[in-house]
């Protein structure tokens, strides 16, 4: 396995033109995103709702058109692909959606849903017998019964539907699956089952996940590495353990402290963020987080923050003038 | 059980009802702002319902049925008028007339007549009326109908004498002038007037466009005051509705009814001078073959049409004009119904190479007369049965007019027209010139000899004229055979118990309110 990442994202930017108070404005949903995803790993993406996580997923899936920046998948730029090449890129990157109810067409049977991708990728399973066999295999792979192929989505429970969504994503044997909040709509007990399933599949199939979630405990459970997103930018990035143990960015620290903990023995001391999330229509100058940051100084407003590196782990970095020190880190982590 | 919400529901309904009554109130103001005095059957109003609203009351368009029926002899009057029963010309605004030169007629006008606006009637007004109708440039309908291209020279000799000079001697000029309604000298000579002023027994009181037209007696009328001081016209397209208005007491006189409109005893029938006929075009095969045209004549069962379809309210026709018109030939027999003969004639023509299987269009006009659709269907079926290939085309007025008169559209293929011809003037010349001359406005056939015969007839007078035209009608079928006559029609008038009125052959075109009186 080569060292070069499977998916490389550089400077990805997505701008939505909007009308605000009668005036045309730009909503910068993604503002220069850099991201690497290696083969077979799980990259967790965390952030509050509205920070651009879903937009990133949709842009990577080419459901939205990127306005600037590059994507490289296995060395090629999918944005430049057309026709059959584009189709084969599509085959290798798949997605699991947040809402297992809305992402499945209620008028199609489970079998039809799982085999739907092959109706576009006609070369994959040519005969109906092949397809039926593969559908049964996939259903069993995700923990459903092969007899379920004839059922309609509404006859399944939420967790089962999400398994169906995963089976559909697997139908094309992808290298990468982008999971956009795949368990947030499910009950806690079911969440664990689905997460375990994802883990098992990764081990079995070697597929890489970009795992998007606002739930830190979930991310910590599944991810090898984590990126933290705030207002369309990635503010911190690193291995899961270093990042969760020693958050550098004040925002990450705040997130961690706010996350519910199952361990009640620890002292709960939250860092309460002041102020509202700024509108992405007019993001703050300099560091985006400064308006809510208790460590902000004048320089945060004037220039873009530099990259701060974790002393213990060189691959753990954050964009901040005033990264958290050991004392603060302990505070945040103890809360989680 | 649902008491709590009952009030909600009823409030909703109340709001709805309020909106309804609001819009009703609004409408009562704008649509029906007239008082309803006229709608109650009283002794002083006669209420008439027509098939359609007159588009205009312009007197020079009075030969259009929908205009004339209101205007003629009610609002305006001509110099002379033709008695529809006797056929004689009677003095009206002119008391005397004579042919002072071969090409000039002199009229002596009635004195002491004023228009309803107070201006006196004199030779100048008469001259202006004739001049504006005949020589005007604004497309007077009556001009084409009675004068064709003829230019008249009209002079007011003095206040009561008028001379009219024609390029060629015209023995029936007074009859032609009976179509020209007299308007004041102030009437526009360059455009049509919508609400005219006249010398008639009535004047226009109010015209609520689309709804109602009210006439009131003209106090300055020179003759006897009419029995009804007020007359109201309304219009309804459906015959059944017109009939129902009589039954329901909403109208006193209804025109243009059919036997099935269910009027019973309130229906009065009268011969209306209209003749229905199938006219063939001679320019295309197979209709250019006289055997085919004769076959058409044999194929139509006129007796059944009259008896069953028209419920006997018609008379089988043997010629273009009915009895009572100068030139009608009482000796002519209708074509016998003989489908066998028709088939053999067609076979004969086919043997000679005539393409008898070419599709022939049978064209007519919707609403031409009650049951026109049924008549067309009967004729079509009859022709199919003897071996012709006939398709039906019912057109609106504008559509059918182009097929009916010159210049005909090009590349039409063979077609038959079911026409209804009304001779309002009572002289065969008005029919024959149009329908039988080889360049007649509604003719596609003719020979030079036959044209000469017609033209000679037109120069005759009195007995000779009658005989000459009778010969024309007798000779046409064998020499030309352009027509298959079907029936002389009968009009049905609805009459309420409040009004007594004796319809005559001119009623459809000229319904004189002055002849209507309160019943018994």
């Amino acid at each position: 396995m080569s060292d070069s990442p499977l998916l490389e994202v550089r400077g990805l930017t997505k701008v939505f033109p909007v009308r605000h108070g009668g005036r045309r404005k730009e909503l910068r949903a993604l503002d220069g995103i850099d991201l690497d995803l290696r083969r077979g790993e799980t990259l967790g993406l965390v952030g509050e709702s509205g920070c651009g996580k879903s937009t990133l997923a949709r842009t990577l899936m080419m459901l939205e058109r990127a306005d600037a920046g590059q994507i490289r998948f296995d060395g090629v730029d999918p944005l430049a692909l057309r026709g059959a090449d584009l189709l084969s890129f599509r085959r290798r990157v798949q997605m699991v959606f947040q809402d297992p109810f809305a992402s499945l067409n209620s008028r199609m049977t489970a079998g039809e849903i799982v085999s739907e991708p092959w109706r576009t990728h006609r070369s994959m399973y040519r005969t109906s017998r092949d397809r039926a066999a593969r559908v049964a295999e996939l259903l069993e792979l995700v923990g459903l019964r092969r007899g379920d192929a004839g059922k309609y989505p509404q006859e399944f429970s939420g967790g089962q539907r999400q398994r169906l969504g995963i089976a559909r994503a697997l139908a094309l044997d992808p290298d990468v699956i982008i999971c956009d909040e795949p368990v947030s709509a499910l009950d806690l007990s079911v969440q664990a089952q689905v997460l375990n399933l994802l883990n098992e599949l990764q081990q079995q199939l070697g597929v890489a996940y970009l795992f998007i979630s606002h739930d830190l405990s979930v991310v910590r459970h599944v991810a090898d590495r984590v990126v933290v997103m705030y207002l369309g930018r990635i503010v911190e990035e690193g291995g899961t353990e270093p990042t969760f143990e020693r958050p550098l960015h004040p925002y990450s620290g705040a997130l961690l402290s706010a996350a519910p903990s199952l361990d009640h023995s620890r002292r709960r001391e939250q860092i309460i963020l002041s102020g509202e999330i700024p509108s992405p229509l007019s993001p703050p100058s300099g560091c985006r987080f400064r308006t809510r940051c208790w460590r902000a100084t004048d320089e945060c407003a004037t220039s873009v923050p530099p990259v701060a590196v974790d002393a213990a782990d060189g691959s753990h970095t954050a964009e901040c003038f005033h990264p958290l020190q050991a004392e603060d880190q302990r505070l945040a982590v103890s809360a989680s | 059980m649902f008491s709590r919400t009952q009030s909600r529901t009823s409030r909703g309904v109340a709001v709805g009802a309020a909106v309804v009554s609001l819009s009703l109130t609004v409408s009562a103001c704008s649509v029906a702002n007239s008082d309803s005095a006229g709608t109650t059957a009283g002794g002083d109003v006669v209420r008439i319902v027509l098939p359609q609203e007159p588009p205009t009351l312009e007197p020079c368009d009075a030969n259009l049925t929908s205009t004339g029926v209101v205007v003629r002899s009610n609002i305006t009057e001509p110099l002379v008028e033709r008695d529809p029963t006797s056929g004689e010309l009677e003095p009206l605004l002119a008391t005397e007339w004579e042919q002072t030169e071969p090409d000039t007629w002199t009229f002596t006008l009635r004195e002491g007549v004023t228009f309803s606006d107070g201006t006196p009637f004199d030779a100048e007004a008469a001259a202006h009326s004739i001049d504006r109708a005949v020589n005007g440039t604004f497309g007077c309908n009556v001009e084409g109908y009675v004068f064709g291209d003829t230019e008249l020279e009209v002079d007011a000799v003095d206040a009561t004498h008028l001379t009219v000079t024609t390029p060629e001697p015209d023995p029936i000029l007074p009859l032609r002038l009976s179509f020209i309604e007299i308007v004041p000298a102030s009437a526009s000579g360059t455009e049509k007037v919508r609400e005219p002023v006249g010398t008639g027994p009535y004047k226009i009181e109010e015209w609520q466009a689309g709804t109602k037209l009210t006439l009131a007696a003209n106090e300055s009328y020179w003759g006897d005051a009419p029995a009804f001081p007020t007359a109201e016209y309304q219009w309804r397209e459906e015959g059944t509705v017109r009939a129902a208005m009589i039954t329901n007491g909403e109208a006193d006189v209804a025109t243009g009814l059919a036997p099935e409109d269910g009027l019973g005893d309130a229906g009065v029938d009268y011969p209306n001078n209209e003749t229905t006929a199938v006219r063939a075009t001679g320019t295309y095969a197979p209709l250019d073959d006289i055997r085919v045209r004769h076959a058409i004549n044999y194929a139509i069962d006129r007796g059944s049409i009259v008896d069953s379809l028209f419920d006997g309210y018609a008379e089988v026709a043997s010629q273009l004009v009915p009895d009572g018109v100068v030139g009608h030939n009482p000796d002519l027999e209708p074509w016998p119904y003989d489908p066998e003969k028709a088939r053999s004639l067609i076979a004969e023509a086919e043997a000679d190479g005539v393409p008898t299987d070419t599709e022939i269009r049978l064209i007519s006009r919707t609403g031409l007369f009650p049951k026109v659709e049924e008549t067309v269907e009967v004729v079509q079926k009859a022709l199919e049965d003897v071996g012709l290939n006939v398709s039906i085309e019912m057109l609106d007025t504008a559509g059918s007019v182009q097929y009916q008169s010159r210049p005909y559209p090009e590349d039409t293929g063979p077609y038959l027209m079911l026409v209804q011809h009304g001779n309002q003037a009572g002289d065969a010349a008005f029919s024959v010139d149009q329908y039988m001359l080889s360049d007649g406005a509604q003719s596609t056939f003719g020979t030079d000899e036959f044209d000469a015969q017609i033209e000679a007839a037109g120069k005759e007078q009195d007995e000779g004229r009658q005989q000459a035209y009778a010969d024309v009608f007798a000779d046409e079928p064998d020499t030309i055979g352009q027509f298959a006559y079907i029936a002389h029609m009968t009009g049905i008038l609805g009459l309420s118990e409040q009004v007594s009125y004796e319809p005559n052959s001119a009623t459809g075109d000229e319904m004189r309110l002055a002849e209507m009186t309160p019943a018994g």
Binding site: G22 | F2, R4, T5, R8, T9, G12, V13, A17, V20, S23, L24, S27, A28, S30, V31, A32, S34, S36, T39, P55, T56, N63, T137, G139, N141, E143, G144, Y145, G148, E191, K192, R194, A209, G210, T211, Q234, W235, R236, E237, E238, T240, V241, A244, M245, N248, E250, D396, T397, A398, G399, V401, Q402, Q404, S405, R406, Q434, G440, A441, Q442
Partner: protein, 309 residues
């Protein structure tokens, strides 16, 4: 709101011009009015005079330019038939149709909501089935047949209503409105019923019911509001369709409205009047559509508010 209206007005301008163009060109394809307005044996010279006088001799594009130039100055031409200004005739006939249509639509909405929601409240009951059957039947009877049957029964046989015409008494409104009412009321009842049945089975309504909310109140507050959107769409289409019914009803009952005016001006090749009438109708329909869109927005907002509570 204002921007919405302004945007609608500007985007509607082009379709209006298209309507005008369409009716202008189509009308001119129906034939030469000269043959109709001149006597049967008019000479070609006379026809030429007529055409020149009425501008019909010019090439069509020039006629069109002249006409559009007039429209900009609010001059819609003159009627060939009556010599009156065409716009005046159209405006005079318009209120009659508008009142007829408005009253009909209000009644249709009221009737359909009452019957439709009652039927939906007890689905598959006898009353529901009866209501469905009656509304389907009502929607499929030819209007002219209804009109004439109505005249026959109520005016001739029973003598309780006038046959036709417009007079001061309200009674003359009964038959025309009843005739027009059948189809929209029938269709709308079915739509309301259908939408109400699904709204009543929606989770939040069932929730409200299970929480012991008064059932009638559930019907009026929740279900009806949700049923309003589909009903509104259909009601709009039906209101537009009333112009068709008006053509028939107005000619039978002698109602001086715009439907009759339009059909008469087609028959009489009275182009200017036809154009003015169609344009007026088109503008009205556009206004109606805007109103419907506004209603949607309003409904949407209220539905959203409800959902948030």
């Amino acid at each position: 709101m204002l921007t919405f209206l302004r945007k609608r007005a500007t985007t509607s301008l082009l379709p209006l011009v298209a309507v005008l163009l369409g009716v202008f060109l189509l009308a001119r394809m129906t034939g030469d009015p000269a043959a109709l307005y001149l006597p049967e044996n008019a000479t070609e010279a006379q026809k030429e005079t007529f055409r020149t006088a009425n501008g019909l001799d010019l090439p069509v594009w020039q006629q069109l330019l002249d006409y559009l130039g007039g429209v900009v100055r609010l001059d819609f031409g003159t009627s060939l038939r009556t010599g009156e200004p065409a716009a005046e005739m159209a405006l005079r006939a318009f209120p009659a149709t508008l009142q007829l249509a408005l009253t009909t639509m209000v009644l249709a909405v009221v009737i359909s909501i009452v019957i439709g929601s009652y039927a939906a409240y007890r689905p598959n009951s006898l009353a529901d089935r009866l209501a469905s059957f009656m509304s389907m039947t009502a929607a499929s009877v030819p209007d002219f047949w209804l009109a004439i049957t109505g005249v026959w029964i109520f005016a001739v046989m029973l003598g309780v209503l006038p046959t036709s015409g417009v007079d001061a008494s309200m009674l003359s409104w009964v038959l025309p409105i009843a005739t027009l009412l059948f189809r929209p009321a029938g269709v709308l009842t079915q739509v309301v019923r259908g939408a109400m049945v699904s709204a009543l089975s929606a989770p939040y309504v069932r929730l409200a019911r299970s929480k012991g909310a008064d059932s009638r109140r559930v019907v009026t507050d929740h279900a009806l509001r949700n049923a309003a959107a589909p009903a509104l769409t259909v009601a709009g289409d039906l209101a537009v369709g009333l112009v068709n019914g008006a053509v028939v009803v107005e000619s039978i009952f002698g109602w001086p409205g715009i439907g009759k005016l339009m059909i008469d001006s087609i028959l009489q090749r009275d182009f200017a009047v036809l154009q003015a009438a169609v344009l007026l109708t088109a503008v009205t329909i556009f206004v109606l559509n805007v109103v419907i869109d506004l209603c949607y927005a309003l409904l949407d907002a209220r539905v959203r508010d409800k959902a948030l509570v």
